[in-house]
Symmetry: C2
Subunit: 406 residues, 2 copies
Amino acid sequence: MVKANDNYLKLPGSYLFSTIGKKVREYSAANPDAKIIRLGIGDVTQPLAPAIIDALHGAVDEMAARETFKGYAPDLGYEFLRNAIADNDYKARGCDITADEIFVSDGAKCDCSNIQEIFSLDNKIAVCDPVYPVYVDSNVMAGRTGTYDAKTETWSDVIYMPCTAENNFAPELPKETPDLIYLCFPNNPTGSTITKAQLQEWVDYANKVGAIILYDAAYEAYISEADVPHSIYECEGARTCAIELRSFSKNAGFTGVRLGFTVIPKELKAGDVNLHALWARRHGTKYNGAPYIIQKAGEAVYSEAGKAQLKQQVAYYMNNAKYIYDGLKSAGFTVSGGVNAPYIWLKAPNNMTSWEFFDYLLTNVNVVGTPGSGFGPSGEHYFRLTAFGTYENTVEAVDRIKKINL
Amino acid sequence: MVKANDNYLKLPGSYLFSTIGKKVREYSAANPDAKIIRLGIGDVTQPLAPAIIDALHGAVDEMAARETFKGYAPDLGYEFLRNAIADNDYKARGCDITADEIFVSDGAKCDCSNIQEIFSLDNKIAVCDPVYPVYVDSNVMAGRTGTYDAKTETWSDVIYMPCTAENNFAPELPKETPDLIYLCFPNNPTGSTITKAQLQEWVDYANKVGAIILYDAAYEAYISEADVPHSIYECEGARTCAIELRSFSKNAGFTGVRLGFTVIPKELKAGDVNLHALWARRHGTKYNGAPYIIQKAGEAVYSEAGKAQLKQQVAYYMNNAKYIYDGLKSAGFTVSGGVNAPYIWLKAPNNMTSWEFFDYLLTNVNVVGTPGSGFGPSGEHYFRLTAFGTYENTVEAVDRIKKINL
């Protein structure tokens, strides 16, 4: 008799963003005239840059002729894209990463939920708290997290690393030794960053205890300060302890285009086992490559025109971030993030819980954000706003929030 | 200390098509003048149909303007595509499947390797022998298949259902009761089919023993005979025992475009657990939707122009299939398949093994096919040729094979 995967049943409630979507739909239905501004989900709003549009049209034309038509892509990605990534994201920053260490995929969400699969179920994970829910949930589904305590909203076999105002939203080395360490900088949801010296401490620690760092650098394009690393491979020794996950969603507006990549250095091992070979095997067996058309769009991200256009696009969103940060700060809110990241991390006023503040903003000023508690217990009383809206909506949302009388 | 997933290490050798690729590359390097014809991997060669090209260009233009730009897609697929699938692939065939039972993905390979994840590791799988390697390998990686016997090339905890000339390459109901039954018709690799009455027996059996059928119908567009079912939901009772996996790769030439879907009826359960909800949760947590551009291309597959153009494209490949089938049969080979499927299943002459015949064809006539033994022990002494080449190459390959003196 067939049985379901019980681990799935352990997941509490529904995914954070589904709950937000449901609440917003219900409010909209009851208040059809409300002009709701969404600064919740980190979805981009600016159109694709002209260089990317040109590349897409060109690739579509190639698919229309027998001579240039492309069938199955190479398992790990087209050489042209892997070379562009290696040159621009790594060699140009002095990182020793080669094209054949880059695995092209349809996005960082898939990669960061699938990567746990090449590790033993006995391995213990450490995550920041608050944290992007996918890291934990994908491990719950695999059966790696023990039992859930609804009161503390934590899993028995997960090591939580609180990121709070006290530690400037940068985690401290955990007391209990983990096997897999999820780090994301610039951070989602807090918008915080760590310096290269701080990241070096993590690399040294991982090498010392034999752990692997899963480094999510999806937001690196938003870094504006010099001492913040864009890649973990800027740190010495990272090749023996780190996997890096990258996305085109936020630097190039690809949330609906779907492209990302994972870097696994060839010498990276778990015990005697080479992890590059394992991930290659997973790609070969369970994946069929990102579409040729989309990989050509990815290549255009690294063209001279593409780079210039995307620099402007990132600047557009960071201008929004500055408007949110400055506006709310001047109105007396406690805010952080927003300098090297498109996220602003806001303390809910008057000791409101995150969901109370969510409901308050939705119903009083029709602004949607993301409750910090949805990212973990240490996110309680916090709230995430994103800079990915249009400038006009961002200004209006901030002005509405500033007017509330708390 | 971090540990790897040991299940990965149990996988014998490398993936079938990687080995073929390596052999062909080595032969090419040593014989640069050889004009190699590839009828091995089931990759298409005809360009995308004009209706699809138009849809792609149109969607790219939408991504270029703020008003029509699309960010994250709905988790389970855009309504326009799910509706087109429900109407054309199901309602038009009298199958009771609704749009919200359809999960759009980036292809059937991902779906058929990921689907096992929503089931218990205690579940026992049954597969045809020979079989598409991904069904078994994805279960090996999950740890569901026991130990491997290199001598028999079988796993201790997998139920094999031999498909041989004696049973006309149609599996018989297994003696041991499985929990999950993988079926693929029209079949890859044998090109065989079963009638609706035969499939109804499987549905009745699954409902009786409480098993779930994972029905891979990736090749349904190639069905030419009236009594061969296009969907398992043509059978009565399939809604309580079957998940169907479908692809756009072979009916629309999307091998490099990447689009597929999975159907899970809402009442389908494993014990008390609703499987539709479980798969939805997996999509929401570990996937971010197929690209908008690609989903618009999928919609065009169902337009009047698209349907007419793709009917011609399928006819082109089936003309190849007929040429291969007739040509090799007239030359004295034992052949099957090719009537409702783009695959011809060929007995290697003179009791050669599959790989011996592979090497013989590669080195003597520079034709690449797929060794049947790569699909399982009952595939030994067989060989798969695909109809997805160009007509010119297909004719030349067959003519070369006919001339060999065995």
